[in-house]
């Protein structure tokens, strides 16, 4: 044998003479039909469906950009899921009902009576401002006002009143405290 493998290749080519007798191929088709009939009886439905799905792909060929698309979809899904996980505690029901309805009404009234000092608008003049200084005008909508919070609170109250009330005990009642004994 030489370094060009020519003698080795001649030897390998002789393997083509290893073959079953001609009768084998004549009987093969009958065996194939028999086996197909058996398979149809045995095959579960999910397997038939799976074969039909995989049949739409050419074996050994992956569509162009398939991996990139799958990765992008997975990343997008992960971002969506993580955003939902982050925003959930703020909207959770437990946080909404942590204060009783009576306490919320009281706090709403207290806020209403408080003086409003941070309202600025364009029509107001800024006293004491120097001629060249930069004056920033703020709109009412830039800041949540007491009226806004009251509207939000009343909407939340209305939604809670439509449901049966829930009470969460934050501390142990006084009567359950251990008596001081000497």
């Amino acid at each position: 044998m030489d370094e060009n493998f020519s003698d080795l290749q001649k030897l390998l080519r002789l393997k083509k003479y290893e073959a079953p007798p001609a009768e084998y191929f004549e009987g093969f088709l009958k065996d194939f039909h028999r086996r197909q009939r058996q398979e149809i009886v045995k095959l579960p439905l999910w397997r038939i469906a799976w074969d039909r799905v995989t049949a739409s792909f050419v074996p050994g060929e992956v569509p162009r950009f398939a991996y990139a698309t799958v990765t992008a979809v997975a990343l997008f899904g992960a971002v969506l899921a993580s955003r939902q996980m982050v925003s959930r505690p703020a909207n959770s029901e437990l946080a909404a009902v942590s204060a009783s309805p009576a306490a919320m009404v009281a706090s709403s009234n207290r806020l209403e009576s408080a003086p409003v000092s941070l309202r600025l608008n364009r029509t107001q003049t800024v006293a004491g401002a120097r001629p060249n200084s930069q004056v920033v005008f703020l709109n009412e909508s830039d800041f949540p006002t007491v009226r806004d919070s009251r509207t939000r609170d009343s909407a939340r109250l209305a939604s809670q009143q439509s449901r049966p009330p829930r009470y969460v005990l934050d501390a142990r009642p006084v009567s359950y405290e251990a008596p001081v004994s000497f």
Partner: protein, 198 residues
């Protein structure tokens, strides 16, 4: 699309595939009869076992029949069938691992008239002195020592005489990869068959 040979009026592969896709099972039978000898050669030389080859042949044609609805004709039916055959055989050989035994077909007596065989026995003392069944066993054992991927390339190129381009299509790798696998496999086989060196 291939053109039907007017002299023999044999339908082309594309026609047979189209008829099968429309539900004509007999058209698929014709494809089975046409390609089973070549598919047998591909699987047999990778497994070196007649019974395993028979089972795999059945599985390959079953899968091809179930999947033929998805065959779009981007490659020839022959290439597509060989893709299924090679993939299933490589998976089988990997699962089988080292637990195998040779179950070899008889060597056709026509080998005695083969020009290359005559050249080899005339030029190489070891080949002349080794009897035919021993030579066959040694060749198959050496093939089984190769990895499944290398075995597939040697089978298709050296035994079945496929061109590099066809093999690269079937395996879904570049022609360069096919050539490098062939070189590596030849070097390994040469080491295993060292005693047949003159």
């Amino acid at each position: 699309m291939e053109i039907t040979d007017a002299a023999t009026a044999e339908p082309t592969d594309d026609q047979l595939v189209a008829w099968t896709q429309r539900g004509d099972a007999e058209a698929f039978d014709k494809l089975v009869v046409k390609y089973s000898p070549r598919l047998y050669g591909l699987i047999y030389h990778m497994t070196s076992n007649h019974e395993d080859t028979n089972d795999l042949m059945q599985d390959v044609f079953s899968k091809a029949y179930r999947s033929i609805g998805g065959f779009k004709g981007k490659s020839s039916f022959y290439t597509w069938l060989h893709q299924i055959g090679v993939n299933m055989t490589i998976n089988f050989v990997k699962k089988r691992g080292r637990r195998f035994h040779l179950s070899l077909d008889d060597v056709d007596s026509n080998i005695q008239n083969d020009r290359e065989f005559l050249e080899l026995t005339a030029s190489s003392d070891p080949v002349r002195e080794t009897n035919l069944s021993e030579l066959q066993r040694r060749l198959n054992e050496s093939m089984q020592k190769l990895s499944p991927d290398h075995r597939a390339v040697v089978t298709m190129f050296d035994i079945q005489g496929m061109p590099h381009a066809e093999i690269s299509k079937i395996l879904g790798v570049s022609e360069g990869t096919v050539r490098s696998r062939l070189f590596y496999a030849h070097r390994q086989l040469q080491n295993y068959l060292e005693e047949f060196r003159q």
